[in-house]
């Protein structure tokens, strides 16, 4: 089995930070705000690994730090401390110790990100096809015909009508925008894909179609994925293993069916008991 990602002791503090931050926050203190200095401990000592073709779920309520962890890995945020290694083609990349140019290179060539809000993942000033072309250009695909063909294939794959590829994303429904975002993320066939609450706020039928699409992609391309969600149904459907976060800490991790059927931590038990 090939390891794709290894994260060790990732921490992220918003604010000044002080010596007591980590000691005085967390689930046992029922807060992630340091009472001494007022800093927010969004993530502390987050460690996990991810293998090829695997979907890892990160579950928790708003403010639990689940998105922060992913944003640090996708270079949207700078971690306060910790290490993350990405493995690809026999090479190891030390994610938090590389310059911005190298980070951009990885984002353009190896990573994909799908945000809850399509405005973050798509450029709304250019067409759906243009969004995909943009990403292909950044990964050095620059033949017009080739780009046009890849964009058509991808939109077809994500079930966006190819006839609409020259329209602006603002003309699309929320579910359609999400599909274009997924097509854009997939354009370079990334070995690692981050999905941050991608179905939150969509109609149930649209959610189901998007989740099915994600599963198909995983099976076709053996893409390793990290799925961040507060939705137990999404976790159940997609993730083989799951981390549960609260106040910036991983409070429980295990096989998804075990987390859902035999949760160990009081918080997870409450969470699972509140499922609809």
């Amino acid at each position: 089995m090939d390891k794709v990602l290894e994260v060790n002791n990732l921490s992220k503090v918003y604010g000044q930070g002080c010596a007591a931050c980590f000691e005085l926050t967390g689930p046992e203190h029922d807060t992630n705000i340091c009472p001494k200095c007022g800093s927010v401990v969004a993530a502390h000592n987050v460690s996990f690994d991810l293998y090829k073709g695997e979907i890892l779920g990160i579950m928790g309520e708003s403010g639990s730090g689940k998105s922060t962890a992913v944003k640090c890995l996708y270079f949207d945020q700078k971690p306060t401390s910790g290490r993350a290694s990405f493995f690809n083609d026999e090479k190891q990349y030390d994610l938090f110790n590389m310059n911005a140019a190298h980070q951009r290179h990885l984002m353009n060539h190896k990573f994909g990100m799908v945000y809850q809000n399509p405005h973050l993942g798509l450029n709304f000033d250019i067409s759906a096809g243009g969004n995909i072309a943009e990403r292909l250009l950044m990964s050095e695909v620059d033949h017009y015909g080739e780009i046009r063909k890849r964009a058509t294939d991808l939109l077809k794959r994500t079930e966006v009508l190819a006839e609409r590829m020259d329209e602006l994303p603002k003309n699309f429904s929320g579910g359609m925008q999400q599909r274009v975002q997924i097509a854009k993320a997939l354009a370079i066939n990334p070995p690692l894909l981050f999905l941050d609450e991608v179905t939150t706020g969509l109609d149930l039928s649209v959610q189901a179609a998007i989740l099915d699409l994600i599963l198909e992609i995983q099976q076709e391309n053996q893409t390793a994925m990290i799925v961040v969600t507060h939705d137990l149904g999404v976790i159940r459907l997609l993730a083989g293993r799951t981390l549960v976060m609260k106040y910036g800490r991983i409070i429980e991790n295990g096989l998804t069916d075990q987390i859902l059927e035999d949760p160990q931590h009081a918080y997870t038990q409450r969470l699972v008991a509140s499922a609809l």
């Binding site: 695997e54 069916d257 059927e261 931590h265």
Partner: protein, 243 residues
């Protein structure tokens, strides 16, 4: 009975208690279970409701995290692994290649065709879709499931039909160890006979099985060994024992 072979699964002093934080309670489910399962043989778990039979199967499959004991599984490469402690990636790999679990109820997406649900374990092993479908169709025919139902979702199926779909999914991948939780509970006598035939075939192929049956005559016919479980004694007493 010829047990010169090594067991594929050896359960030693398995125990599972649920700690319910909200209620401040510890619920004992299985306590001090010991059993062996051999290739080509069926070990039957019997006992009254609440004796923790399903909890044993779920512990082996790691849907439940065992509280105590060892669950020693011998892989096809002859490596002994304690399923109670093994790394999650390894468990997922074993589920994909060696251990299958037919649960009491079918859990499937309401929008998936029956044949695709059954084909899942084969696809996950990397088998080509059309090749997988051939095997699936063979298995579904053997189980007497009408052909007209193959391409539709089992959501509207009867209990017995659902159970056959579930069973078919467990059988197609030809696991080395098959866990069966009341596989014939809602089947009519004719279909039950079919399923018994399939289980006998699996035994002949060398599949090891650990099964829960409620009908004594099935245990009589299929089991090579029988393990009787009793409901665990009350929590306080167990707690005293572990203290």
């Amino acid at each position: 009975m010829n047990n010169t072979e090594q067991p594929i699964l050896r359960v030693e002093n398995y125990g599972k208690y649920f700690q319910l934080h909200e209620q401040g309670k510890i619920i004992p489910s299985s306590h001090d279970v010991n059993l062996d399962v051999y290739p080509g043989q069926l070990t039957a778990l019997i006992g009254p409701t609440g004796a923790g039979k399903s909890t044993v199967l779920k512990g082996i499959y790691r849907s439940y995290l065992p509280t105590s004991g060892r669950l020693l599984f011998r892989t096809k490469d002859n490596v002994e692994i304690d399923l109670a402690q093994a790394d999650e990636h390894l468990i997922l790999e074993l589920r994909r290649t060696e251990i299958a679990f037919v649960t009491q109820f079918l859990h499937a997406l309401p929008r998936q065709a029956t044949q695709d649900i059954v084909a899942q374990p084969l696809i996950r092993r990397g088998m080509d879709y059309s090749q997988a479908l051939n095997i699936v169709h063979e298995t579904l025919s053997a189980m007497n499931l009408p052909k007209a139902l193959w391409s539709i979702s089992p959501a509207t199926f009867s209990g017995g039909e659902k159970q056959r779909v579930n069973l078919a999914r467990g059988l197609v991948s030809r696991p080395r160890l098959l866990l069966l939780d009341e596989p014939t509970a809602s089947l009519d006598p004719v279909t039950t006979e079919k399923v018994i035939g399939l289980i006998e075939n699996l035994k002949n192929e060398g599949v090891a099985m650990l099964a829960i049956f409620h009908q004594p005559e099935l245990v009589e016919r299929l089991a090579d060994s029988v393990v009787k479980l009793n409901p665990p004694i009350v929590a306080e007493q167990i707690l005293k024992e572990i203290a």
